[in-house]
Symmetry: C3
Subunit: 128 residues, 3 copies
């Protein structure tokens, strides 16, 4: 569980470092603000970003995983958010600050997932 | 699995009581109607609600958990729904009646999660 | 993990056949293209379909399960997608081709889930 003010992605990475997690899947819900979502533009090979203002939004779905990139833990999460009209927005989650609470369930596995930069897409896909 | 006519939140609570579940995470999909979604307004410290009519909607993501509030099981779920144009809506799930089927996977843990009312937000966050 | 060009539903079914999976739940994220989403119209007892073009979309939530229908593995998945404006769309997932990567976590159970065609809805709900 995250407290008000905790940023989701950095909190997950901090936890992965502290607990030496090399592989985990996660789902979560909550309410967040100051969100940055991304859409990977395959032609430009970079993420388009959209910032959502200081208003709290419902975090209606947080899904993702923890893995290692060059030996360092990384959190890859996608999120669905909704506003006060209950309209839904979604994308790659770059940032979200806990506004009320964020409740995450983590399934930690014994192995490791490794990621590597892929120049074809600009992303860091999993290497099996 | 829920049958046609079963309400999602009350069915989860009933199950938690019957099986004495103190902590669980859950994900699910299905099709529902008579849905009530909520958005927590932090200034008013109360949920704004939006009702979705009698038409069936796809339940494209159900995510949440079971915990205890003053010793009684409570289900905290967020949902993403979509209509016949495949537009997505989301929020805190207050109510959803199964219109076709709802398929939920529950991961039950041995411990207990306790919630407590928080006057600062008007919500019932987890107490660790 | 799926590679670029892999179709999600058929890849899941292929895996279920190869690994003799009779019951599993799954969650995933990624980026996909050539998506077909569905909405079950209860009056017509058939799915309305909407095709999303060749542009890549973020797969912000993939949720579902593997079960058996007349002895053959079937994947029942719902998906939430988002476009370059981060708008979210959702529905029953008929088809999605991996455009960058799709990362799925599967929880395989020892039992079997059986589905059977239901003429009342036109769907194949789980039989307990």
């Amino acid at each position: 569980m995250l407290d008000v003010g905790d940023e989701v992605i950095s909190s997950l990475v901090k936890l992965a470092v502290a607990e030496r997690i090399g592989e985990a899947s996660l789902t979560g819900i909550g309410a967040v603000k100051d969100v940055v979502l991304g859409y990977l533009d395959l032609e430009k090979k970079q993420y388009l970003k959209r910032e959502f203002g200081p208003d709290s939004m419902e975090l209606v779905s947080l899904a993702g995983n923890l893995a290692l990139l060059r030996g360092e833990p990384v959190a890859h999460c996608h999120a669905v958010l909704s506003d006060r009209e209950m309209r839904a927005f979604g994308g790659h989650l770059f940032q979200a600050v806990t506004s009320v609470t964020v409740e995450i369930f983590l399934h930690v596995y014994e192995g490791e997932i490794k990621r590597r930069f892929d120049p074809d897409s600009g992303a860091n896909p999993i290497v099996l």
